[in-house]
Point group: C2
């Protein structure tokens, strides 16, 4: 069973409060680490949760409000001190490279690892990365500054061969056909082995989507189709709907509406306003619309099973 | 009894480790707060130790290594969200204003309080501020980038009037003379009331000095004369003396030597390398040279009594 899981490192909005750190999440895919947002103190959370960033090669920054990126320069400095040598790619809005460069200039730091910046497009969907396991895309959100969401999707998987039914003397190239879900044919075109008898359908390609920060934005629904776990910001409760609209944030109810419209399997809400010490009302508000809702809680790992 | 105290908010060097935050200290003078260095996560420490920065008007940054200033932009953003309106002055090396400006530019934040930057001079001593209680000076340290130390000194205090001995019908202007330690004279120049009989000498003008980061630098001794509490970095123990020299840091022994040469009353060491989980060896190394040494420990407040 391969791992596909999300670990929350911070779920507070704006200022840290009630012991909660600012936005940061780690997507864990078979030990590989994809960091999404990097609020101030993210490196402290790595230390706190005993996470060694040895398999961190890609960092995704949704937008340039401090609570989503101010931990980046510190994390880079620590990776530098840890003698990291392999390349790191940072995806984020225009300006992030300049911010990092100005900091490194005055500390007279020349990182001993290559760092590559990829500018995200907040006006249109974009494929950011396709590695051997995942395709990662960004799509526009609507906040007060250029902001994108991110979708992390596993590649399509092979059909699963039923080992007990595997014919003796089957050839490797015939197995390859099974993995594609294709029948093995005789030379005359008749069926030698039917795929349907010897294989099971592929396991799901799991998908995680991250939407923070944004006003209620039904336009994102098409980007969220086939999502196992949706993280959607829920800065406020409905009682603060006017404030949410004014600040381009969402309520817990709106996050749940997006989850419902997108047909996702599970919703995780977070980016809580500092006004909420108790998060239960936000959870209940979302669950009233979309029962499969959970709170983003620091340190917790949400496993997405390979069905 | 008026307060003059130092609260440590962080004492780790380089990376946060062993639950220790990076450099930040608050000087508390009758409720006023002077922040010295502002490592990443300093605002989290404000929250943790329930410090409300209502009386924070001056921030002093020793140098532009990330572990000494990366918390500044986040703190400014939080002060902004808290609707601060009164001016804040930030003292630090050339470049700090640019770093703050670049961050605020991309977050499209216009702070709702005025911020004033004062560039410190790392080549010569400088008076930074003289308010109604303190004179604050910087002086050069020797580190890998431009760095200054800071000295915070109370103004000279009045002679203390012995109330029981206060003559009846004494005039206000005669009391004013007592406060300056002067005799009250008759018109013919003869002594009416001798100051020595009616007053006690002034209480000490307390002084706190902050030296981080620096190699062992005896040239700073003259700036430290008459210091009640000296904070001096002690990144390493003597067993790492070569590494200390190479990185322009001090050992605990060297910090204690500076304390001895300066004749300070008390030494506080800090800025511990992440290699030291247990700080006791660093403390003992310093105490062997200068017994009145204490460790900088997060949250702890060191009161400097008004003798």
């Amino acid at each position: 069973m391969s791992q596909f899981a999300v670990q929350v490192l911070g779920a507070s909005s704006a200022a840290p409060a009630h012991g909660r750190n600012q936005s940061a999440q780690l997507l864990l895919v078979n030990g590989r680490q994809y960091l999404i947002d990097c609020g101030e103190g993210t490196q402290h959370q790595f230390f706190r949760f005993k996470i060694r960033p040895f398999r961190l090669n890609h960092i995704f920054i949704s937008h340039l409000h401090g609570d989503h990126y101010l931990g980046l320069v510190g994390l880079l400095s620590t990776l530098h001190l840890q003698k990291r040598e392999h390349e790191l790619t940072v995806y984020g809005p225009e300006g992030l490279e300049e911010i990092v460069a100005v900091n490194l200039k005055y500390s007279e730091t020349e990182l001993n690892f290559p760092i590559r910046f990829v500018v995200t497009d907040h006006t249109a969907p974009q494929e950011l990365l396709r590695d051997d396991r995942l395709t990662i895309r960004s799509f526009p959100l609507s906040h007060r500054v250029p902001t994108t969401g991110f979708v992390f999707k596993e590649h399509p998987k092979p059909y699963r061969i039923i080992k007990e039914k595997l014919p003796e003397n089957i050839l490797l190239q015939e197995i390859a056909l099974f993995k594609q879900g294709k029948d093995v044919l005789h030379e005359d075109g008749s069926v030698k082995y039917a795929a349907a008898e010897h294989t099971l359908p592929p396991k799901r390609s799991r998908q995680f989507a991250y939407c923070s920060d944004t006003r209620y934005l039904p336009e994102i629904v098409p980007h969220l189709s086939d999502t196992d776990l949706l993280y959607h910001e829920a800065t406020f409760g409905v009682e603060m709907a006017a404030r949410a609209a004014e600040t381009f944030h969402s309520t817990a109810q709106e996050a749940a509406q997006i989850a419902t419209q997108s047909g996702v399997r599970r919703l995780m809400i977070g980016h809580y306003s500092t006004r909420y010490r108790d998060l239960q009302p936000l959870l209940e508000e979302a669950q009233a619309v979309f029962p499969e809702t959970q709170l983003a809680l620091e340190g917790e790992i949400t496993e997405i099973p390979e069905l």
